[in-house]
Symmetry: C2
Subunit: 197 residues, 2 copies
DNA sequence: TCCGTAAGATACGGATCGTATCTAATTCCT
DNA sequence: AGGAATTAGATACGATCCGTATCTTACGGA
């Protein structure tokens, strides 16, 4: 907002202020309110400063999303594959809600035109969770719950994919949905592939 | 395009011409070429005519998408649940590609704050396919391939959900993805629930 | 202290949005 | 058939936003 003219920010401090401004705009006016002009004014700076850092609106939105996204820490060991998967999905849900449905759609829309940004988003928003799922499955194998022989990417990503789908479609993911994804789909699929001990 | 000034279209005829113009722009210049100004010119009319029918670009895109969507006919009986499901997913893919990824995201965005459009979209884009899936499963049961005892909504929608997810994320769905969804996830999940004979 | 870098202000051309206003064509109604 | 009501189509407008260029000036490092 009205920034004191006293000092002139630089580097990380300035960048943070800009990304915070993006979120303020998002909160107050939704994705369409995120324009370079508004964000610049809101952050108490000017457009050229933004364009020195990001190539355009798309990159700025992505940066803001990633900035807010807490680092996906490890999934605590709940003792069973079932509960670990539920934990992972709840972690993912929290991350999605942090970003919000409309901003997420906005990002996806912007990202469509930019292969580079697209890959970045996919990597950060999906890759990390996929890795956590890999950890969860590895843990389950150590416990002797499953054999991962022939486990494929498709199956590994299954719970994550279903959760994302539900979030994008409904904007919310109740606990029951998470339970259903795990108990009615994921675990049965593993069983059907002969992977459950 | 250059329209003959001879006559002045009205009602449905005019509306159709406008929606066709949207698709022409989409084809030639991609989604960003769909501006109210261009569409109006392309259709040989003017902006106010567009705004008398749709509240803005978003609604126009939704209308154009639904206009082009062929009625999802029945899925031909391929003889097995597996092949029927693949057929259904290919039909769905064709529908999604007809609409296009960006318009689809536009629709989803629109849906967030427009209850009316929401119901229309859910009915046209989701409900119909779900019904076709129900048919496919019923056929499989008649054949004796599966028991549908305790079949839940979640499982019934599984292939559809996964395909939609992949389309939104990648904008394309190769044949292998469809095969994977059916062979690595859907059928195993049915088997794991004890539904496959 | 001085110099290079980058912040911040301003302005620009171009595109688009959504609306207001006006006219004339077409359809409807009597 | 003819007048009234409707609405297509043309045009112009203010506003907003994009991305860039230019200029001044504050800050930080050597």
């Amino acid at each position: 907002m009205a920034r004191e003219q006293r000092t002139r920010r630089r580097g990380k401090e300035l960048e943070t202020a800009i990304l915070e401004a993006v979120w303020t705009e998002l909160r107050e006016g939704g994705p369409e309110a995120v324009t370079m002009e508004r964000v610049a004014k809101r952050a108490g700076t000017s457009k050229p400063v933004l364009y020195r850092r990001w190539r355009g609106r798309a990159e700025l939105l992505v940066a803001a999303a990633l900035y807010r996204l807490p680092d996906a820490e490890a999934v605590p060991d709940a003792g069973t594959l079932r509960d670990d998967t539920v934990s992972l999905l709840k972690l993912m849900r929290q991350r999605l809600l942090t970003v919000g449905r409309e901003p997420m759609l906005g990002i996806l829309t912007e990202v469509v035109h930019n292969q580079e940004v697209n890959e970045k988003v996919v990597k950060q928003l999906i890759g990390r969770l996929r890795d956590l799922m890999t950890d969860v499955l590895a843990r389950a194998e150590e416990r002797g719950e499953v054999t991962l022989d022939g486990l494929d990417e498709r199956l590994r990503r299954l719970p994550i994919d279903l959760l994302r789908n539900e979030f994008i479609l409904n904007g919310a993911v109740p606990d029951e949905s998470i339970a259903e994804i795990v108990d009615m789909v994921f675990l049965p699929a593993l069983a059907g592939r002969g992977m459950l001990r």
